[in-house]
């Protein structure tokens, strides 16, 4: 059954312990480490300039944020110049309404979709369906979970929680009308089946909706990055292309986007570059033989402008590579659904309270061992652990924490003010956690299943990160 998609503290605890006891999910999560982590490390090792690129990426994003109004206006002017249209949306409701109106203007009945986390964020599929328009996800992973009526459990591998048998079941249940009556389980056969079924959808869609990883101010261009080519068929075949994106995705120039392209795929999948990187500028030109007649960009804010100038502004540098998720021991133990909303892992823990409110999601920053791996691998140096601590302090001050959390933090504060005791307790905690964790160093069972006991506030069993946190704490107190 799909795990609850309503984010609140009770559900998180329940979801986390359910996830730990779910053998299918646990087997699927084993793929995260050899898959993403090893491939990223190998790709990074092959590019000596990677750390310089990270610093450049961070500085570029900071530059953009400092001049965000300027670059957004420039991007809009350039899109207009080429015959496209930019629509600004303050929140999810406005963004949904804009998309609906564009669809209605061309009497659209069927919409194909490339992968877009913004679409998940605004709940576009449900909205369109309720207005009589059929949205069809075309990224294979997104398609699978759409058939299963689930949310993505990962921002770049949405069906990572599933195995082939579950995919086979979903296809078998839905592909009969397309002539596929036999249940097939081979990944190759499943792939071919999806390819054929989705081909028909691409060819019959009225509108194609993609996301955009970047918006280039210099040229008024949106950029998508995919491996499947589904995004390209989505945006090339129908009469209308809508790129759904958010205000922090703007970058100044083609040179700057080149820097982010070098960072993105290596951090995400460990590829040198994804198979397809596509730059779209306006609608099809006179004499073009294909391409959409209309080009729309929806720029979503949804709480992001409120992060400007504050302690969370750095989060707006995020390029959604998922490296922090792939390296997070908590995500590795419980998967993405337990987080209860669209963005899981460390980036989600920081972002979600902004987007759906601290009341609903202020608990998420507790889902951390503060091991620091997320910050170490982030291609734009976002200080994720520090931000999670900010949220925790805020939530604590607001007394929104469940009693157990307040108790936990109280105990932590007691130790934190007594360095010697803290060290002993932390080392003891580390020792306990090490004993509880499997050979891969992940804390699977007791600590989580028992509802995040007091130990969850103590560092993961790695001495270094304890020292870091300790030093940070001391700085904060002095």
């Amino acid at each position: 059954m799909p795990i609850s998609t309503v984010a609140n503290p009770q559900h998180f605890t329940r979801n986390a312990s359910a996830a730990l006891k779910d053998p299918t999910l646990q087997r699927a999560l084993q793929n995260v480490k050899p898959g993403f982590r090893r491939k990223r490390a190998a790709a990074v090792a092959k590019l000596p300039e990677f750390d310089q690129l990270r610093a450049a990426g961070r500085d570029l994003k900071n530059h953009v944020l400092e001049h965000l109004d300027f670059y957004l206006e420039r991007f809009e002017a350039k899109v207009n110049e080429q015959g496209g249209q930019v629509h600004w949306a303050r929140d999810a409701a406005e963004a949904n309404q804009i998309v609906l109106e564009i669809c209605r203007a061309v009497n659209a009945r069927r919409v194909t979709k490339g992968k877009s986390m913004i679409s998940e964020e605004i709940g576009l599929n449900d909205f369109l369906t309720s207005h009589g328009i059929q949205p069809i996800e075309t990224d294979l992973g997104e398609y699978i979970i759409q058939l299963r009526r689930e949310r993505p459990s990962h921002i770049i591998a949405p069906a990572i929680h599933l195995n082939r048998e579950q995919v086979a079941d979903a296809f078998h249940a839905h592909h009969g009308p397309y002539g596929f009556t036999e249940r097939r389980t081979e990944p190759r056969a499943l792939m071919d089946e999806a390819r054929q079924v989705l081909r028909r959808q691409f060819l019959s869609a009225d509108v194609g909706i993609t996301g955009a990883n970047f918006c280039i101010a210099e040229t008024g261009t949106t950029v998508i990055v995919t491996n499947e080519g589904n995004g390209d068929l989505t945006q090339t075949l129908p009469r209308v292309h809508i790129a759904l994106t958010s205000i922090e995705k703007v970058v100044p120039t083609l040179e700057d986007v080149s820097t982010f392209i070098r960072l993105l795929s290596r951090s995400a999948t460990g590829q040198e570059i994804s198979v397809y990187t596509t730059f779209s500028s306006g609608p099809r030109r006179a004499n073009d033989l294909d391409g959409p007649e209309q080009f729309h960009v929806v720029l979503l804010d949804n709480g992001r402008s409120g992060m400007m100038g504050g302690e969370f502004q750095d989060m707006l540098r995020c390029i959604r590579c998922a490296a922090c998720i792939n390296h997070c021991p908590v995500y590795g133990a419980i998967g993405g659904h337990a987080y209860g909303w669209v963005y899981p892992g460390p980036m989600g823990a920081v972002l979600t309270p902004h987007l759906i409110g601290v009341e609903a999601a202020g608990h998420l920053p507790n889902a951390s061992t503060f091991c620091g791996r997320c910050e170490e691998v982030c291609p734009v140096h976002i200080p994720l652990p520090k931000m999670m601590r900010h949220w925790r302090e805020r939530e604590f001050e607001r007394h929104l924490s469940p009693a157990a959390t307040r108790f936990g933090l109280g105990v932590w504060a007691f130790f934190a003010k007594r360095p010697k005791l803290y060290r002993i307790a932390a080392n003891l905690g580390a020792w306990v956690l090490r004993r509880l964790s499997g050979r891969d160093g992940r804390i699977k069972n007791l600590a989580l299943a028992k509802g995040w006991t007091v130990w969850r506030d103590l560092p993961a069993p790695q001495g270094r990160t304890f020292q870091q946190q300790w030093a940070a704490r001391r700085r904060a107190q002095s």
Binding site: D69, W88, R195, I273, V275, D288, G291, S305
Partner: protein, 224 residues
Amino acid sequence: MSEARKHILSNIRRGLQRGLLADLSRVELEARLTHPPRNIIPARAQLPHPEQVALFIRMAESALATLDRIASLAEAPAAVAAFLERERLPMEIVMAPDPELAALPWAAQTALHIECRAARDGDKTSVTPAFAGIAETGTLMMLSGPHHPTTLNFLPDTHIVALRADRIVGVYEEGWDLLRAQSSKMPRTVNYITGPSRSGDIEQTMQLGAHGPLRLHIVLADHE
């Protein structure tokens, strides 16, 4: 929704604790857009041209593209026919209506059926030129236009790309420089293509040919 626009922009400015950007910074930002500075350029592709070509080949093949090297573009039709035969593919291609491609000796390939147009569902093999090859990652850079319909890059099962070695550059930035030298405007679509389509969405095991081509074959000509 101009109200939303105003609201978002003023929220941003409030966060930044300023009003409209001062004219001076505006001038600086404009200058940066008109003369975009390069950021970090990987050393791996800063090589003499023959070595850039070798790097392009290595990188494209490691992204699972296949590649045939021919002496001149005039040999491309024969190379295409030979590839189709070798792979036991039907002797029919949909070709980009590109003047340079059209000028090649296709007539000599009597067994080959050729149509020049955009792609349709059911097309097996497309043949297109590339605007440039980028050595750092073995990436093909394709521009859309009346002679270069984008669908040819995505709909057919097999995509064959004819590329001249002198169109290979080192890094992405050099590809953009080539484009800027040719036109002040972006085409509707620029595609970077690196290897054939793939997906790892079923149990994180890679399968080729997700929605785009199953095979990407490059015919690389040392000379015109």
